[in-house]
Amino acid sequence: MIPGHFTYHRPASMADAIKLLSDLGEEARPLAGGHSLIPMMKLRLATPEHLIDLHAVEGLKGIRQEGDNIVIGAMTTQHELLASDVIASSLPILRETALLIADPQVRYRGTIGGNVANGDPGNDMPALMMTLGATYRLEGPDGVREEAAGDFYQGAYFTSLEPGEILTAVSVPAQPPGHGYAYEKLKRKIGDYATAAAAVVLTMSGGKVATCSIGLTNLSETPLLAEDAARAVIGTVLDDASLKRAAEAAITIMSPAGDGRGPVEYRKHVGGIMVERALKRAAARAA
């Protein structure tokens, strides 16, 4: 399993990377951690003629607080997310999710930028970013723009990235102290993509759900925000009836593929269960 021929570029600045990407056009791909792209290249499902390795580009790594947001450089690895105190205290759901991604070796190399920008419906971070209301920083030949995670995903491996653009950072609103969170992921084995997964962040007030946001992974061509499901639990004490309503509302928007992870009906069924479990666990954690 040897990839096809390509020319390797290792620009040292963002300006050079963007210039290369726009000059070389369709046949060029940025290379981040490479743990999605290189396996695809070995299978010849991806045959880029040029790889633009982003590892030498200055300023693409790191986690910092900017006002109410946590800004994470695109080349920050899952391993670095796990080691970050800022993430552990302000965005603990990112830590919980990163621990469920692949395995240690992959987490040392795999980056948050690659995970969210690739548009792979199996990746875990995109649904989480939608749940958290994150925005992506996209830099291209025409300058910089910010795009909401919720507007970014258009189909499997199809995003709103324009030709020549590179995703350089994600900006995630820090969650308030006392919020509850959970990422529930059903997988066949450790390291696998989700059969179904649900992300929940919520706040409670007087025993009732005050705010709630629910995201779904690998249950459609794109990550999904289950807005009706979230509405079904706001104002409730998360009794069984409202949990059921939330699961049912989430199931109506799911359209998973029937594949090695199970037939469609099964994946929707367990998708509903992931929603219920994530809601319960998030509520139990909320102060």
């Binding site: 040897i2 020319t7 390797y8 070995k42 395995d103 040392y108």
Partner: protein, 170 residues
């Protein structure tokens, strides 16, 4: 598609020795290590980033060398299984642990297991059994059922920490 790509010069430090070579950009690091450097201790199992047999240590991180291009490792410091033994050639604590605890049967996964466990113990010198299992989740073994691999790593941790190796109660 580009038919031929120019070869590039790469140099890196492998097991303490400066090495260099000419590679196509598409040359995977594992092939560079096995074929150019003739260090065949690093194995190729699945070639699909699953099994971890190809694990090496690059700049302090465990990496599946089948999922990285050799050009990307230019300038890095790499430890392969051939660089794990003590400087005087005696077995390292991990190697001794695998031998004492029967941490291998066919041995195919062993180079990856040991290089991975080497990094795990640097990061977490006194791991619990659960931490060991989670820490080697990227390495598959088709023979041992993992029990003795976990014991081997516990043995090594105890030896490095100067504590007594406690055989877990069955």
């Amino acid at each position: 598609m580009a038919t031929q790509a120019k070869k590039t010069q790469v140099s890196m430090k492998v097991n303490g020795v400066e090495v260099d070579g000419l590679v196509e950009p598409r040359t995977l690091l594992v092939h560079f290590i096995r074929e150019n450097l003739q260090l065949t201790g690093t194995h190729i199992g699945c070639e699909t980033t699953h099994c971890g047999a190809c694990t090496v240590d690059i700049d302090g991180l465990s990496v599946k060398s089948c999922t990285m291009f050799a050009v990307q490792a230019d300038g890095s410091e790499i430890t392969t299984i051939e660089g794990i033994a003590n400087a005087d050639g005696t077995l390292s604590a991990l190697q001794e642990g695998f031998r004492q605890m029967h941490g291998l049967q066919c041995g195919f996964c062993t180079p990856g297991m040991i290089t991975r466990a080497h990094r795990l113990l640097q990061e977490n010198p006194d791991p619990t059994e659960e931490e060991i299992r989670f820490g080697i989740a990227g390495n598959l073994c088709r023979c041992t059922g993992y029990q003795n691999i976990v014991r081997a790593i516990q043995y090594a941790a105890a030896k490095i920490n100067g504590t007594e190796f406690q055989e877990a109660a069955e």
